[in-house]
Symmetry: C2
Subunit: 167 residues, 2 copies
DNA sequence: ATAAACTTTCAATAATTATTGAAAGTTTAG
DNA sequence: CTAAACTTTCAATAATTATTGAAAGTTTAT
């Protein structure tokens, strides 16, 4: 496999994987492109490489910046803006985990909390609703805590965690 | 909040959350409904409760069965089929984690493996592609391993894991 | 101040994904 | 065997989500 083919394969796979970590295709592809680029890319570069429109590029770059994954770079002597992504995979994972916790998991925990604390009217179905949503809340809480703990261990968190869990 | 309101809130929240664990809205809502039901439900019951068509119900029930989350129940004296879902949240999480690993993570690891082992032609961009996709492969491998380890600890895996990681 | 270089916005459109409903298929009771 | 009860399939349609492109907005150089 040659460079160009490998690159395209990587960018498109990462793109379709976007949904797995909760972002859209173009957004994931732009990030993938920046991730393997040896230098900052301009909007033109990105549009060209991915064959997507200016508007699309602009909107998705903004989202990536909102996530804190991509940053603007000023290149001296150039008028246009350039972009780079976080290059360290562990830091990247940390950012993604934090954002997903904040955007998706926390709000769900809140709803589960509300639903699981309704008044017990003594009926079987109410008891079941309370019991099951409470269990789900505990699980979600635990997973969220675990994820945040994993991600907050600065150095080599993953390796360390895998090691600890093997004991 | 009364039972009916709480139930609807739970079902719709869990439904829109579906995307987070990689399934569609109707599928997640059906599972949510079964999860808080005190008895097996028929297709009619589900259609009625969620106001969705017979076809939709049938297709999504099949998918839930493919995932191994929902099972058919035979109710004596009844001709139609009834359905139940796994009621234990930890077992549920275990099934979901296993399936997502198999369906989504493993295939990505395979692509990363392919891309990260292309021939190094000595150019900077090829070196960067190899380096970055290799790092991503390691991360993904580690996360997958971690997830499977977590999930294979039979009793109280989550609580135990959280405890271990606090040390 | 103004024009060129660039970015953002957003209504229109395209692409994708989910849902319906009726016909075809299957199972069971008599 | 046949009709009723039930489930599945799938082409058509609806709903949702992503993308375009051109106009409006912003910044910078002169």
């Amino acid at each position: 496999m040659e460079y160009q083919e490998a690159k395209e394969k990587f960018v498109s796979t990462w793109g379709s994987l976007g949904t797995l970590w909760g972002i859209n295709k173009a957004m994931a592809q732009i990030q993938a492109l920046l991730f393997i680029s040896t230098k900052p890319l301009s909007m033109e570069d990105i549009m060209e490489e991915l064959k997507i429109s200016r508007g699309n590029t602009s909107m998705n770059l903004r989202q990536l910046m909102d996530w804190g994954i991509v940053t603007k770079e000023i290149v001296r002597g150039e008028r246009k803006e350039f972009f780079t992504t976080e290059k360290d995979v562990q830091e990247l994972a940390r950012i993604v985990a934090k954002e997903r916790s904040r955007r998706e998991i926390k709000p769900v925990i809140k709803v589960l909390e509300e639903v699981s604390t309704i008044k017990d009217d003594g009926t079987e179905k109410t008891k079941e609703l309370i019991k099951q949503t409470r269990a789900l809340k505990h699980l979600t809480d635990d997973l969220d805590t675990l994820m945040n703990k994993l991600v907050n261990q600065k150095q080599n968190w993953l390796t360390k965690s895998v090691f600890k869990l093997m004991k």
